[in-house]
Amino acid sequence: MKVNLHPKEGLLINAFMLFFIIHSVQVGVGLAGLPRVVYLVAKHDAWISVFLAGMITSIVLIFMVQMLKQYDSADLYGIHVDVFGKWAGQSLNFIYMIYMTSTFFIILMNYIEIVQVWIFPTLPTWQLSLVLILIVIYAVYGGIRVIVGVAFFSVIGTVWLVIVLFVPLQFGDFTHLLPILNVNAKQLVMGAQSTTLSMLGFEIIMFVYPFVKEKHKSMLFVQIGNLFTTIIFTLATLISIVFFASNSLEKTIWPVLSMFKIVRLPNLERFEFIAVSFWMLIILPNMCFYLWAASKGFSRILGKRQKSGVWIIAIVTFAATFLIKSRYQMNTITDVVAKLGFYFAFCYPVLLAMIVFIKKWFKRRGDKHAETQ
């Protein structure tokens, strides 16, 4: 397997599209429940935790991009093989592929759960999952350009929901925020860790990187994308804390969706029906990117066609949807994947980056040594 990937000229995307990619992949099902999850740990300073998590993500992204810059045009699969050799590298690739497939699965299932809770309690899971998976396959078949387009339209088409979030603010009570920084540092950090599921997605940069046209600009746009996500997440958390009373926020599973309830137009009430429908556009790029990256792994590891990888992963995911029977199972699996994500997306890339830096440093020193001799 080749370490570097050199896509055709026509497949390359502009660096500023990375903004849309990073932002759209980060915002997903996690956001709907984010304020409560953090609030349970960090109480009314949850918004600080979320912001902290954004900062940490930004640092992890610096490591990731710097690691990618050590190579000409490599993705994570290539780097694994370069660093750990064929067998260990390929096994790591396989594990990462499994991780991404499970994230794909979690996003799908969580969205279907939201639909079932909010709109159609009796809708069978397999029907919606089948249709969604088919749509995602259709997008992935179009290749990276189409998926990036989906991310672009997802951001453009749903960014107005942020403005709608300001409506509940007029009923809010800002004293909920006081006293600021009342919880200890450990709680803040734990709160930051609980945002993992929402923050996840930025690791896609490690797979998209070979397709970026102006690679030297990628750091800038990746950081802007992450910043935008952080701002939106912090804002959502802040508004939730201000809007909900303490004990009701703890009991509201999807506070962001609940807040849409009170939005009222002259000809429209109960805005959450529209918000839940639009949420599909938000999760669509997430699913597309995870399926694309996982199937890319399939073709990179086995050297087979990516199309067959898409189908295999899709069928496995579809089969897995039948295994989930209840809300508790869903919760457990989501927690497990969130934990996995914490290690796979936050800790591991930093570690790998260190190894790559050391390796390259040794190599450079070795080269210099050879030159002087």
Binding site: L128, Y138, A139, G142, F152, P266
Partner: protein, 505 residues
Amino acid sequence: MFKWLSGKKAEETPKVHSLDLEELKEQLKTELNVGADLVFRTLKRDGEKLIFCLIDSLIDSTKLDEVVIKSIMNHKEIEWTCEGISKVLPMASIHAVNQLGEVVQGINQGKVYIYSEGQPYGILADVSKNLVRGLEKAETESLVYGPKISFTESLQSNINILRNNIKDEDLCTEDLTVGRRSKTKAKIVYIRGIADEQIVNTFKQRLNELELDYIPGTTVLGQYIESNSWTVFPQLMTTELPDRISIALYRGKVAVLMDRSPDALYGPTSFFAFFESTEDVYMRWNMGLFLRLLRLVATFISVLLTPAYVAVLTYHYEVIPSPLLLSLGESRARVPFPPVFETLLLEFVIELLREAGARLPTKVGQTIGIVGGIIIGQAAVQAGFTSNILIIILCLSALGSFTTPSYLMGTAIRLIRFPIILMAGLWGGIGIMIAFCFFIIHLLRLETIGGPYLTPIYPARIKDIGYSFFKLPPQYFSFRPITNRTKDKERFPKKKAKQKKDVDE
């Protein structure tokens, strides 16, 4: 393995026609097989024989008599050889040929073949007659403002109109033959130095690779050279307005005109180009902007309003505020059908009215519209078939789809409404969103002559948005659309447009 056997075999060896007049006649008769239309006229002089072979129905007989035969008969002194005759023929287009195939082809195109017995060559002279209808006002793309002349079926006159519009010496009109058997003349038109060569080459390559026997017109030709033929969305624009082509050419596009086809095809055209009308260009920028946005909003409404009605009334009636819900419920109280069925029924009626109106002569068509629209609508409501509100919504969405300047795109938009209505009836808002996501992906996957279909939006070309989405005051359009990768980037010097005067200067 047997490639050498199958290859090249079909190619006919060139064959010289018989030098004997009677045999030549027989040969032409068997080759052409047009019955009494094939006419031979023989002149005799001192044992020499000169023959004119022609197809009666294709030629202009006064031209033949007055120009060809008269000038040969008047010049008694000349030799009846190829050179001799060509000296006295006052015509621009004559060819010396002797291949049977060429002669047959020439006669079939309305030329006269003049041959003197025993000579090695004969002369093909063009005396063809083109039946042309006069220039008329544009019918399918009707305009309030701007030039109204439209293309006709004659390629020659179309090119004439175009060249009169654009007196640019860089305007290239390259010849093509379309249709392996029908051999229809076509022209590929672009402005050298503006149009990107890659786009021109893509057009040429796709046109040359066609191996069809016959193509009825440019609209059909467009379908053959499009990248995706499964979709409902047209990927190349056809228009009957010459000024539309001129504007497009100066934006770096490439046009294809075909003989006997009153439409010109041009591309690359993105999705949003189908919502542009030439009126936008002729009007003041703010009016143009308003109309353009109106059209886009109308399209959006046309696609989403009826599905939203179905979704809301079937599943999410909580969304409607209670006062509105009351009046909705009241008007729907007598309707025995579920909203999907009701909507599909009425959509069907509207499509029927539209189709009937389009097929009938104008006067009857109008009557049908009034009869159908008012009487059926009124009666349907009174009979309790549909609700009043649905009729309002449906008429709005029908009107919305008719605002699209391109008839093809308007039809496409009316068509995609049906699956969305069905999805809305199945899964409500989620169903609409699924359909919406599908169409976004679908449009993203389409392309037009190698370029992306959703172009000024994605891939984002922010400068170009003014060309297709919005409109700005003219001084901001000193550049040509970037998407077309034009060679000459500037329309006028930018600096001059940006100059600002001081107070009282």
